[in-house]
């Protein structure tokens, strides 16, 4: 009897271990298959495999669909640069964290975009130093982009990224519902400033007492900082958490929160809040502007776009519940380093195929077929092209139902000017956009990037304070008379002063270098 028990327990144990092992095996198998596939393909000719991670604002396509697009791209890349590409679309919300975790975990990602975090990507060593290989691997791209555009990705005289080529100049605009403006006889083209806007909002509120005239563009940000001054250089900080900025063409780093302009904006927002002109939950809402604009009781929001006002309004209509929209420009475009390097393409520092990766990046800037495959997918299945060269979705399909599209990522991948324009926009827009790139005022610190590593501790603390106070101040949900002084105090304790002086120091060094040249 005892023996039987013993035998059973041994059996049980072996079964469990084998169960475990076979579990492990099954996962091994699948990856084994994948790699054996590679082997068979590499047996013919050796192609480097480049993993291209890009952020998509559309639905993430299924892997079968993705394979078809990959194959179409590979047919070009095998021939042109001897490389095979694996596409890795990542939802925009998870993009930065997924990429940085994958790189830490040793997963293969060769090409990624900096997505607003140029400095972090460089200072944490994620980005490959491209200085020595750009001439051999991406000479055409270098020629396409002008020197000062590339300069925005240079830190300590080394080049770490290639900025997406697109309309850089972001112009602040009010996006509003055309029908309501028409009905109330408001001439929106007369709106030139935030004060003009206030009057419009008041008349909307009087006509529709239940309406919330303004909604925030992002949670906690009605984007009014845009209106503090036409010319703010954030000195490579996050737009939503600026710590020390340059204002009005000076080279003196200023504390944005200590300016009267900032105070005025906070006061104005408080007025909006108290008169119910702005969404009461603006500081905390998790709804996006387009969701809020889809509902009946909203009127407008403020945001910056790089397309002409008419095009911007037309392209946003489908997202905003099909309401007829209008847009009016209320500020001028301004270019600083961040507006260019916020979206730059980088090669991962631990990439084993850095040169091939850069060659592929080069193709996304120079090869019209590649860029359109990435954005629109496969012709006639995912999009159709009319005689004038405008792209649209096939009959009966839209952005959500088509097999593959990354249309909303347009302007983030490679060369925007090589993409087929969407039908509904006009090719004249491209002219406008190129023009804005030229015309926009440029920051005197254009090309300067800030290295935050020596003030990391202060940076963390200040970020926390800003997140605590800035959204509610900018949405008017707290009284600036009492809260603004408190905010300034806390910033001071958190070490904003140290960040500003460090910035000034680096900026001065940079400036002498530039003048010295």
């Amino acid at each position: 009897m005892r023996n039987v028990k013993k035998i059973f327990s041994v059996l049980l144990a072996t079964v469990m271990i084998f169960g475990l092992v076979s579990c492990g095996k099954s996962t091994n198998n699948s990856s084994g298959e994948a790699s054996s596939n590679d082997v068979t393909s590499t047996e013919k000719v050796t192609y480097d495999k480049v993993v291209y991670a890009y952020a998509t604002f559309n639905n993430i396509p299924s892997s079968e669909v993705l394979n078809t697009v990959e194959e179409a791209i590979n047919q070009i890349t095998r021939e042109k640069i001897g490389v095979e590409v694996e596409l890795m679309p990542i939802g925009i919300a998870d993009y930065s964290s997924t990429v940085s975790l994958s790189l830490q975990g040793g997963d293969q990602i060769d090409v990624f975009e900096s997505l607003g975090d140029f400095n972090t990507s460089v200072s944490s060593g994620m980005a490959y130093d491209l200085t020595d290989i750009i001439d051999t691997c991406a000479a055409e791209t270098k020629a396409t982009l002008s020197e000062d555009i590339l300069a925005s990705c240079i830190q300590n005289e080394r080049l770490y990224g290639i900025p997406t080529y697109k309309p850089y100049a972001l112009t602040p605009m009010v996006i509003y519902k055309q029908e309501i403006a028409d009905e109330l006889g408001i001439d929106m083209s007369q709106v030139k400033s935030v004060e003009d806007l206030t009057d419009v909002l008041r008349s909307v509120k009087t006509a529709y007492p239940d309406m919330t005239p303004v909604v925030p563009a992002q949670s906690g940000n009605p984007n009014m900082v845009l209106l503090v001054s036409d010319q703010i250089d954030y000195l490579t900080d996050d737009y939503y958490s600026p710590k020390g900025v340059l204002m009005d063409d000076s080279l003196v780093v200023a504390d944005l929160y200590n300016t009267t302009k900032f105070e005025d904006i906070c006061d104005l927002m408080r007025v909006w809040y108290e008169e119910n002109l702005i969404l009461q939950d603006a500081a905390t809402t998790t709804s996006t502007a387009s969701e809020l604009m889809s509902s009946d009781n909203t009127f407008c929001y403020v945001a910056s776009y790089s397309y002409p006002p008419e095009d911007t309004a037309a392209s946003l209509e489908a997202q905003c519940g099909g309401n007829k929209l209008g847009a009016v420009q209320i500020g001028d475009a301004y270019l600083d380093t961040t507006s260019i390097n916020a979206l730059s393409w980088m090669v991962a520092s631990n990439s084993k195929v850095a040169e091939s990766a850069l060659k592929f990046i080069n193709l996304t800037f120079t090869d019209q077929d590649i860029i359109n495959l990435l954005i629109y997918g496969i012709k006639d299945r995912d999009y159709v092209l009319d005689a004038d060269g405008y792209a649209s979705y096939p009959e009966g399909k839209d952005a959500a139902s088509v097999d593959y599209t990354a249309q909303l990522s347009c302007g983030t991948l490679g060369n925007y000017f090589l993409m087929y324009p969407m039908s509904g926009t006009s090719k004249d827009s491209l002219v406008w956009e190129e023009e804005q790139n030229q015309l926009a005022a440029k920051s005197p610190a254009m090309g300067f990037t800030f290295d935050s590593s020596s003030v990391k501790t202060e940076y963390t603390a200040v970020s926390n304070v800003i997140q605590q106070y800035l959204p509610s101040l900018l949405c008017g949900s707290v009284d600036p008379d009492t809260v603004l002084p408190e905010f300034r105090d806390r910033l001071e304790t958190a070490g904003l002063g140290a960040i500003i002086s460090e910035k000034q120091k680096q900026l001065d060094n940079w400036a002498t270098g530039v003048i010295g040249e």
Partner: protein
């Protein structure tokens, strides 16, 4: 000679199968809890992707500095105070619920109440955050539009008024976790020998007397073990509770910010692995010290119930 060998063999044959059975569990523990311990290095490194974990430069206690700034004290205070409140009120209420459940009698009734108490525990914090939002929303929220309107008060901007939040967070925490916490106590109540109650009944002890003199004292070991475990995690906080439920509203940070959310906010922008590793290490070390010292206290006053 021969005898000895037989004995040795018998020891192995006896515990061998048991060891084999435990092996997958041990392996899991090793892979999941011990191998990642190497990450502790990161807390003292200026981490650089190119150089890797071991190649990065040492930076001493640089990564810890931000946790000990003057303005970081409020978050440590919050973390500890919330956890203390949760431990004390949570334990008392969980025992109360467990005792009441056991007195319900019919099985179907017990099952019904137990399931309905457990239900919130199955919801994710995101969902609970939005349920809270439906109640507290300034424009369309339930409380502002029905309760406050009915009693004729002034509408409250909940998400920007810090003073209500300690109460709201405690309430939400209890609502979500009470059912789950009480299950463990119910299990130990079920384990109490029924004959003790019978004897007490014969001696004329009423229900309340039975509860205070039998049930509660018999629960003491369970309470102590659970307390010790909770104290070990006193420097941790439920990220979902403190991040999702207040909708990450900045105006509330003074009362809702805990170590975990502070680290999250600070590092989101910097993306610094070393600093988050430092925060994790700091939390574990304090937790470890607390567990050992609380256990020492328990051992001193009530030797047999100490954990180790």
């Amino acid at each position: 000679m021969k005898n000895k060998r037989v004995k040795k063999n018998r020891g192995l044959t006896k515990s061998g199968p048991l060891l084999l059975i435990a092996f997958p569990g041990i392996l899991y523990l090793f892979i999941n809890n011990y191998i990642p311990m190497f990450g502790v290095f990161l807390a003292f490194k200026d981490y650089n992707f190119m150089k890797g974990i071991f190649g990065s430069d040492w930076c001493g206690f640089q990564n810890f500095k931000y946790l000990f700034r003057q303005d970081a004290f409020v978050i440590i205070r919050n973390t500890i105070l919330y956890n203390l409140v949760f431990i004390v009120i949570g334990t008392i209420l969980a025992i109360l619920v467990a005792v009441l459940m056991c007195e319900l009698g019919t099985k179907s009734r017990v099952k019904f109440f137990q399931s309905s108490l457990l239900l919130p525990n199955l919801l994710s914090w995101v969902v609970i955050g939005f349920i809270g939002f439906a109640f507290l929303n300034a424009d369309t929220g339930f409380i502002n539009n029905t309760l406050i309107e009915f009693f004729g008060g002034e509408k409250i901007a909940w998400y920007t008024t810090p003073k209500y939040w300690p109460a709201i967070l405690t309430l939400v925490y209890l609502w979500k976790n009470l059912g789950y916490m009480s299950i463990i106590y119910m299990a130990s109540i079920a384990g109490i020998d029924k004959s003790i109650y019978e004897a007490a009944q014969i001696d004329g002890a009423a229900k309340l007397k039975q509860i205070s003199h039998i049930t509660i004292p018999m629960l003491k070991p369970t309470v102590i073990v659970l307390m010790l475990l909770a104290v070990g995690r006193i420097f941790y906080s439920d990220f979902g509770l403190f991040y999702q439920v207040p909708m990450n509203s900045g105006a509330l940070y003074d009362v809702t910010q805990t170590i975990d959310t502070y680290v999250y906010h600070g590092i989101m922008e910097l993306n610094d692995v070393g600093m988050s590793a430092a925060a994790g290490l700091y939390q574990s070390i304090v937790g470890f010290i607390l567990v050992v010292s609380v256990n020492a206290l328990v051992r001193k006053f009530d030797g047999e119930n100490a954990l180790f």
